[in-house]
Structures are given as structure tokens and as C-alpha cells.
Symmetry: C2
Subunit: 247 residues, 2 copies
């Protein structure tokens, strides 16, 4: 086989955390430094420019995940040490799954998934401590998931008093999903339930809003925003959201 | 006021990640290095011994969270720079909430919540990519939460096909909760549904098991274990769990 003549390739799927290099893990920094080439969505590559130096870079647009992963696998099969970068954690709505699906069990590439601080933790940290009790994470993007299933999950999470983290709450193509999600949650929770809206947590353009279910649509929400809806116990004290655990 | 004569104290609530120092963020390392004193549960203090050097340390047993947080606040009110350390992320079943509750809005201490890689991401990374779709995180500890509410959340999460992350699945005082949780989930999912069991992710004594709902109780599960139950789409391919997102 052709690949037997080469070094065994290596694929690290690296979570770069919320965006600032100081919130990357040391293992993630090291994996990018040691790589021959870096593959990722343009915005993420931009966030870690200082680590990339003269490396080969394959970057493209947001929706071309499959093409990006195939390029990364191809580079690794040619013996390269490849870092595939995702913001947040690579295993939460990011690239780890697609890389492993496309590899489909082949053993001629070494794979390492390197976790990072997910957007839900970075956003929670900026809001205080809203995730101290059981929570559900739901993406409102129906690009890959039928809206009916998303709505079923919203009902389930809201009815069982989970704190709810909403990823991908809004984009140009689906500006009304966040309104629909709010309507579902309001069937189970008071209008005064605290809500946190965090955009670009720990990036230079970060914005943090604490509001409630009645007023949340008055604020700017886009696809880079994480929305956290409190449970029935969540408190808003000064600048913080706190979900008591009951100590 | 007495405190006006002193430096303003500082409290950093620091997530140290799964355990190995290489999986801490650079911000977390820096906050611990810059602190005057470090407060935390004995085991966590042990994990980061190399960072603590000659600092003042206040450590105690697992269940004395309130006493630990009060000690940290007291040190900060005396003008110290205090790092309160939690494993994983400080905002997920950890210390951030209780610190903010006890501070109750007082402004004479600066507070920073420093996120870390949570156990759910570290465990998922060792298993492959089980969290690629919507997931619910549920603690099976009924020390602070009525079992009826835990069971209600298990039903809700299982019925809406969330991937389910179980924290605190078992301890000496509640050895049967994991059995009860499994029974609930089996009302909605096949016995062949993949399950990952990770103990001490990224620590020297790490163990990683991939099994399914029918056989999961054959393996060692304790309070340091994270259990991840796949949704109806989760695949087990060679050494990996993968929940496809549908690309």
C-alpha cells in the first residue's frame, strides 16, 4: 500500500475554547504548534493566528464541514500531522463526529480528540453560575434536524425544569426559531424566568445581557449567541444569574 | 469600614479541567499562580500540586462545600487573592454557584469565574464523539435533589431522544440509582443503545468502557465516573461512540 512508505499520519481534532488564546488548554496549544497543517473554518483560524505561524492552512466557509474534514483526512493519509480546529469543544455540535464518521474505523491514521472549554461553559461563566443544576443543550438549527424534533426536545426540557442552553438560536435563514422556542418554554415557565444572552464570550466583541423570558427578544441574538434560560429556581442577583443547587 | 484599609480582595473560581495539568487552560494556570491562597477539596488540590508551591492552602472533605466557600470568602474579605478550585468546569455541579450565593451581591470582593473543560467533554473526547447532538446532563445524586425530580428528568430526556450524560451515578449511600436510571431509559430506548463509561478521564488511572444498555451494569461505576447514554442514532464503530449530526 502506498501509505506504508510514509510516516503514519496524525489527526488531532482540537477545541480552541471560546476564542481568546488564554482560554485554550495547554494540550490544545501544543497540538497546534506541533502540527504540519491546520484545517478549520475561517473565523476560527483567525482567532488563533498567533499559533499558526508558517504552517499550511486549509480554511473555508461555515457550511462546508464535509469538504473540510475530507481535506484533513487526505492530508493525514499522506503522512501529515494535522490539527482540525473547532471553537469551543470539538465534540459539541462541531467537527469530532464528522471526522470519526468519515474515517469509519480505519486504523492507518492516529486520531486524538482534544477537548476545549465549550461555549456553554464560557457563557455560563460570564453570566455567573446558571448551570449549577441539570441542564439540556438544544441547537435551534434545522439545517440538519427536523424542527418537529427540536420542538419535542424544547417541550421535554422545559416541562422537566431543566436549565436550557440554546445553541444556534438565530441565523438569516431562520430568524423566527428563537421566538418559537420562547413560546414553547413559556408554556411551562413564568415570564420572569431569568435569561442570559451571551455573544462572543471571551472575545474582544463580547456582549453579556441578563434579562428574562418576557423581554429576551428585545436584545440582539444571532448565530454566534448562546442563550441560557434558567429553571424555576434560577436567581438574578446584581450582575449574576445563579441556579442554586441546594447546599 | 475595616475593609477600606485593605486591598480589595479577589476570588477566582477556577475550573482545573479533568485532572491533568495539560488540560487546564492557560488562564486557570495563571490565576492559581497569581493567588495568595488556594481553597478546594483535597483530591483536586492534589491534582495541581505542582502549581501550588508554598501557597497557603485550605482543603477539606467532599461534602463540606459550604464551609470551604465561607473560608474562601473570608480570606478574600481580608484582602487576599484567593483561587477556589473545582475539577472540570466550576459552573457545572461545582463551586461557582455557592460562592455567588454566599456573596449575595456584595461588591467588596472582585469575582471571576474561570471556565474549564467539564467532565462531560473530557469523557466524550475519550469515547469519540457521543455529544454531537442535543444532550441532557443529569446528576443522580439525591443528596440535594428529590429523587422524584431526577426521575422526571430522566423520563423527559429519554423520551425526547436526548443523548444523556449522568453525573454522580453511584456512591456508597446510593448504589441503586444507576439501576433505576437505566430502567427508566430502557422504557424508551433499545437494549443495544451504546453506552460509554469513563472513570478519571485524562488522569493516570483513567478507564474507558464502551458497552450498551443491556450490559452496562457489568462494569465498575462509582462517583468519579461519567456515564454517557447514546440517543437512537448513536453508533459504535471500533473504539468510538459517534452520534451523527446528519452532515
Amino acid at each position: 500500500m502506498e501509505s506504508s512508505k510514509k510516516n503514519k499520519g496524525r489527526l488531532c481534532v482540537v477545541g480552541i475554547g471560546p476564542g481568546a488564546v488564554e482560554h485554550m488548554t495547554q494540550r490544545a496549544v501544543e497540538a497546534i504548534r506541533q502540527s504540519d497543517c491546520v484545517v478549520g473554518y475561517n473565523t476560527y483560524i483567525g482567532l488563533i493566528g498567533e499559533l499558526i505561524g508558517g504552517k499550511e492552512v486549509f480554511s473555508n466557509a461555515m457550511t462546508q464541514e464535509r469538504q473540510r474534514c475530507l481535506a484533513a483526512i487526505d492530508l493525514a493519509l499522506h503522512g501529515k500531522n494535522v490539527a482540525v480546529v473547532s471553537s469551543g469543544d470539538p465534540g459539541i455540535y462541531a467537527m469530532a463526529g464528522l471526522i470519526l464518521e468519515l474515517l469509519n474505523g480505519r486504523q492507518d491514521v492516529d486520531v486524538e480528540i482534544i477537548p476545549g472549554v465549550p461555549a456553554l461553559c464560557a457563557s455560563a461563566a460570564k453570566l455567573g453560575a446558571p448551570l449549577m443544576h441539570d441542564f439540556a443543550s438544544i441547537s435551534l438549527s434545522d439545517r440538519l434536524t427536523p424542527w418537529e424534533l427540536i420542538e419535542k426536545r424544547l417541550h421535554a426540557a422545559a416541562s422537566a425544569d431543566f436549565v436550557i442552553v440554546l445553541y444556534n438560536p438565530k441565523s438569516k435563514g431562520r430568524s423566527t426559531h428563537i421566538n418559537s422556542a420562547r413560546e414553547v418554554i413559556l408554556q411551562y415557565r413564568a415570564e420572569t424566568t431569568p435569561v442570559g444572552i451571551v455573544k462572543g464570550a471571551m472575545r474582544v466583541d463580547e456582549t453579556v445581557v441578563i434579562t428574562d423570558l418576557s423581554r429576551m427578544l428585545d436584545y440582539d441574538i444571532d448565530m454566534h449567541t448562546t442563550v441560557i434560560v434558567g429553571n424555576s429556581q434560577t436567581l438574578h442577583i446584581n450582575d449574576f444569574l445563579i441556579t442554586p443547587r441546594g447546599y
